[in-house]
Subunit: 557 residues, 2 copies
């Protein structure tokens, strides 16, 4: 399918690096909740500077009533660790802001603090992730590990939510539909818009309308014109230029005149009165075609798709054809998208046949009016001829669930496991430092994610592994994996990033590869089957022993 307003994507210019700093200027140690800093002082004051902690970053429920989540945001987290250092003005601000009794030595301590003693384990960015399996594990001195919490959550939550949302759009749209992110104006401000564009691309969108995102992240950018362009022309007299050189011969032709001629002719073929169609719209389209003869795409719903927009577009496209150019397509931004897209396709087919212009049938139909996952599902059911969706508000705000609830929980301190109990059993944390494995079946599908104590040996291919529900004693099963994937890699240790980080493209491909390993019944929109997350027998017993030790006296627990 042809892409509209195709951009010349180059791989090697250096805008990305050049601009990265600006974009990340706000990702700094003060981008955190105040209580992290007050806790840091209290830890420091109570002599816990050398305590070593393990924190798990995980979510408890998949978003959008789904049964999977795409993990994203890891690279940003690593850059944050790499840059973690309080500036002089940070120190000055904190001294003026925090309780006046805080000791100066603490500020000295903060001034020298970096993330060099932290080890960060994570699953691969772009992987499918499931509830309660930590996606990031932080080990290191309690104070610095605690100070990372809010920023890591901020960087992971929205990134993963957007990547998941876009991946879901991609699934319902199917792989042959082009998906474009059009959400900048409805995002949470400028940087919200940039994050949306980036993670929509990772999740499976093909491009964005956001030019700065294109520049910063090397994402394809797309777009044609708005209704304002059409309404800025009230008639043919507004048209200052009407000529265009033939693409091959270079001979000047009158595009307006040719378009008018085709319009009269088409009026009969399509049974649409030229009187009903807008002259301003025709003038606007002619002018736009003169500006972009090679990539002409027009918005056809400013006045009336059926009575005006389609007729004018086809007239201009035929005129372009006479001058050796191929139009790209139309965009429909209102009305009944199923009906109008079928009408447009039918019109293109009629013209292709009548005028012997086979490519006319291949014109791209873009739709872009308040589209969400359900709209696409409904359009699929009704039948439609749309090639490309432009999606804004619902995509970037993640309307169905505008926040992913990642949490960051202390699970071990000085090699002692910690458990956070809760009356809500789903909120009980998995104590201790853990490893996570994904076990696969012979057909390559993921069977189960298994959490183990770090001291246990990994599950082995072909050997049966006892997988237990973390809280329900009776729920357990033996699994014989055909493949065992250790989910964690060390990404940050000894003050540096210790993996080659994938490019945005590679993360984007990882998403699709990872989704392929997930069975369809886990991925479907309606009543998906929950994917199983289990604990080893050792970890099960460990959890429940610790639970018992910590259970309050006098209450049935």
């Amino acid at each position: 399918m042809s892409s509209f307003m195709r951009t010349n994507k180059t791989d090697n210019y250096n805008f990305i690096e050049q601009n990265r700093f600006n974009h990340n200027a706000v990702v700094q140690p003060l981008l955190t909740d105040l209580y992290q800093i007050t806790m840091a002082y209290a830890y420091w004051k109570s002599g816990k500077t050398d305590n070593v902690a393990v924190f798990d970053l995980f979510f408890r429920t998949n978003p959008f009533h789904g049964e999977f989540t795409i993990f994203a945001g890891l690279e940003e987290c690593l850059k944050f660790l790499d840059n973690f250092r309080y500036s002089d003005s940070d120190m000055e601000y904190l001294k003026q802001t925090l309780d006046a009794n805080i000791e100066d030595e603490f500020y000295e301590y903060l001034r020298n603090l970096t993330a060099k003693d932290i080890t960060l384990y994570a699953i691969e960015e772009g992987s499918v992730a499931f509830p309660r399996v930590p996606i990031i594990k932080i080990e290191g001195p309690l104070i610095i590990a605690q100070l990372l919490e809010t920023t890591l959550l901020t960087l992971v939550n929205y990134a993963s939510l957007m990547a998941t949302n876009s991946a879901r759009y991609r699934m319902v749209a199917g792989k042959n539909i082009q998906l474009l992110e059009f959400g900048l104006r409805r995002a949470q401000g400028p940087d919200g818009g940039l994050s949306a564009s980036k993670y929509a691309y990772i999740g499976g969108f093909d491009g964005t309308s956001n030019v700065l995102a294109g520049k910063l992240f090397n994402i394809p950018v797309k777009g044609t014109h708005a209704h304002a362009y059409i309404t800025s022309f009230s008639g043919i007299s507004d048209l200052k230029t009407r000529v265009l050189r033939h693409k091959q011969t270079g001979i000047t032709g009158d595009l307006l005149e040719t378009a008018l001629k085709h319009r009269n002719n088409l009026s009969n073929v399509l049974d649409i009165s030229t009187e009903e169609s807008s002259e301003g719209e025709l003038a606007a389209m002619v002018s736009f075609a003169i500006a972009f003869p090679d990539v002409f795409m027009a918005l056809v719903d400013t006045y009336d798709v059926k009575r005006s927009g389609l007729l004018n577009f086809c007239a201009v496209a035929l005129a372009l054809n006479d001058l050796g150019y191929r139009a790209v397509g139309i965009r429909i931004d209102s009305g009944d998208l199923a009906y109008l897209s079928c009408l447009a396709r039918e019109t293109f087919e009629t013209i292709a046949e009548r005028f012997k212009i086979p490519w006319f049938n291949q014109l791209t139909i873009v739709a872009s009016n308040d589209i969400n996952e359900d709209t696409i599902l409904s359009l699929n059911e009704q039948g439609h001829k749309i090639d490309c969706f432009g999606i804004g508000t619902h995509l970037v705000t993640c309307q169905r669930q505008p926040a992913l609830g990642c949490v960051y929980k202390l699970v071990e301190i000085n090699e002692q496991a910690r458990i956070k109990l809760s009356q809500d059993v789903e909120k009980v944390t998995m104590p201790g430092s853990k490893n996570a494995y994904r076990l696969y079946s012979t057909d390559g599908h993921a069977l189960i994610d298994l959490l183990q104590k770090v001291t246990e040996s990994p599950p082995e291919v072909g050997q049966k592994v006892l997988c237990r529900h973390p809280f329900q004693e009776s729920k357990r099963a033996y699994v014989i994996p055909s493949r065992v994937e250790p989910l964690y890699k060390v990404y940050w240790k000894d003050g540096r990033i210790c993996q080659d980080l994938p490019t945005l493209e590679q993360v984007r491909e990882k998403v699709q590869r990872s989704l392929k390993t997930v069975r369809n019944d886990h991925k479907r929109t309606l009543n998906p089957t929950p994917y199983k997350v289990a604990v080893s027998d050792d970890l099960y017993n460990f959890i429940h022993d610790l639970w018992l030790q910590n259970a309050p006296i006098g209450e049935l627990s």
Copy 2:
């Protein structure tokens, strides 16, 4: 009411200016949709460089099923205009990205483009605004006016949505409740979080947990500790320091010992077994109190509010009292907030009376578990004793409606009015450059917003004004205003900001002042009365004449 972890807010340090640039690094001309730039080229190519346009920026519906909106984001828009200039790397990126046929002269034109020929009218930032009354009006050369669209929408949409959302929380909470924004970790990334903090403050919140927002915008920052702090202590043996000097005498006391003594005593008074309460929690609270004896506030729900948290807190607070300090209060982050807050208040009252410590009754109770507007309404109905809400996810994501639908419509070009028709009458635009007035009753309430053609004389105090529904002929009424407020001021003209801009504090005060002029029935949560927006008789006739001229032939319009 006492504020917890009070920050020393200073008015005159220069972090704000120092940091502003970083925060706004992404608000640049490329932060736009690609189609603005392709349209710019097509306008340029078709000789429309000198066309003068008027665009209206407005919304069609109030968010959150309400009947008012707070306008915010104006200052950011003005800074954007002030900085509007394509950089060399922008030009390089555009040349590589846009259609290869674009003429070099266009890039020259872009390179020299600034917003100096634009005039920006707006209503005051922080004002109440209503559907279809433009909140910003842009006049100037078509191309540059068009190029501003997406960025202005991005800057206004989320800012106004957040300010409106926070103002609604403020209304349901009442003016005596402290409201804190805790949403950074659930916002749309780093900058989404910063915008949330800023506009929550403008809308009526008292502070934020976001330290960087505090530093950048001089907003009070608040916070104590998380559950992790409590769980990092497993018992009294974890407590390295237990002594604290008396606030007045300076004599060292053993805070732990005193707290343990009080705990035993309280155990009888409150009828809670000390065996049921957590020693780790007690140790954590003692250590926190030693770090922050003047501003001690503790999270009491890590194990069990009733059986553990309250007992431990009160014991530590009484021990602090013995050493001359006053505790600040507690935070409850789970469970039945109505019940637990009443239980806590009752406990504080009992202790105040029993131990003759009147201020104990004044301890602050903060609640912070997944709170939204409805939760507060329900708590109000049930009765609660909460002094302060910490609100995160629902506030910053504006869950009930995560986007405000501001649009930017061409209403005039070269002094010719433009109308955008639509089958949906609500989407028909108000053509031409307009003035807007707010008419007030004798009791100071806003009666109606009136749109007029710019050529009309303003409505006069004491004179009857014919106010018409823009689309329904029969709906009209005479209004005799006691006060007439012209809604627009010129904020940007001749390349500079031409009003003294209010501080954040002043905008925040404006919100409350402006809301006071709105009748309660427009502001109530349940079935609010729509506020009336009218057009003058002249404008009514003008709209409908133009509509008729533009109506398609052959259709009943």
